[in-house]
């Protein structure tokens, strides 16, 4: 059951990282000069999203 729960949880995180990457790539294509700053923000946003998925993973293993 826990494994199914983790799979469900990851759907959200997958959407989140996908959206972040989508936003980053489109804005980099429009304005290549802000690439450096955008990369920082992208990594930051992905870290926030990814943390949720990882909390799910660890809780699955522990519980």
């Amino acid at each position: 059951m826990g494994v199914i729960g983790y799979g469900l949880g990851v759907i959200g995180a997958g959407f989140g990282i996908g959206l972040a990457a989508y936003g980053a790539t489109t804005s980099m294509a429009r304005q290549p000069e802000v690439q450096g700053r955008l990369f920082t923000v992208f990594i930051l946003a992905s870290a926030f999203v990814e943390a949720l998925a990882l909390i799910g993973f660890v809780v699955t293993l522990i519980a």
């Binding site: 920082t40 990594i43 870290a47 943390a51 990882l54 993973f57 293993l61």
Partner: protein, 268 residues
Amino acid sequence: MNPLDKLGEEMDELLEGFTSTAIHGDLTVGLTQYTFWMMVAAIALLVLIFVFKKKQAACGLVPKGRFVNGVEFLVEYCRDDLCKGLLGDTWREHFPFIASVFFFILMNNIIGVIPGCKPGTGCIGTTAALGLVSFVYFIVVGIKSKGVLGYIKSLAPAGVSFPMNALVWVIELFSTFLRLVTLAVRLFCNLFAGHVVMGTFAILTSLFFVPVLQQITPQTLGFAGASVFWIAILLIIYAVELLVAVIQAYVFTLLSAVYIQLAEADEH
């Protein structure tokens, strides 16, 4: 006979290996495998600094060589990207803290991905301590720049009228304490989860390869072929883990810098 039968057992053993066990003394006062590798990382960092200083002095005015330039690149990256980019004028004051956190976590993570070693940051105790250090640091910076009352007031944004103001203040206070938890849990979960995944694929590789050593039949040869596939995935995950080791050190430091900048900013 199915190699996957033993997977549950082996997974339990793997997870057992990741829980803190005392190798000297007990869990309250003693040395666990994680603190041991954390000390190894700290000593490696000290050795790195001394070797760097010596090599830099030997170079004379212009630093040359792969090692010296590599370390300089990392320090300059930390200075320009994390400190100057985010903190603005006061970067010089916070650079020592930011750089030491970055290099400590980076060294721990890199040592962790070497097979046979454990990451010091793969244990919730270490990351909670690091998160607490960062938390106390940005609160002290905030209090220094605005005063105790000023900092407490500055949690709520200026320009919001009275009843909403109090509500926002409570939410902001809660989120400030949540930063401590998320800093610690993010780093721990990334390292822990990454190592569990690597361990799982290593176990799968060995489980699928063992039958072919006992007797050679078409079925066991098929399992051995699957084991090659597992080891390919293991190598890919290993590369991803190397990337994660750097990115997580970067993220932790970046978030610390952002929080310091928020605490220092005049307007919130």
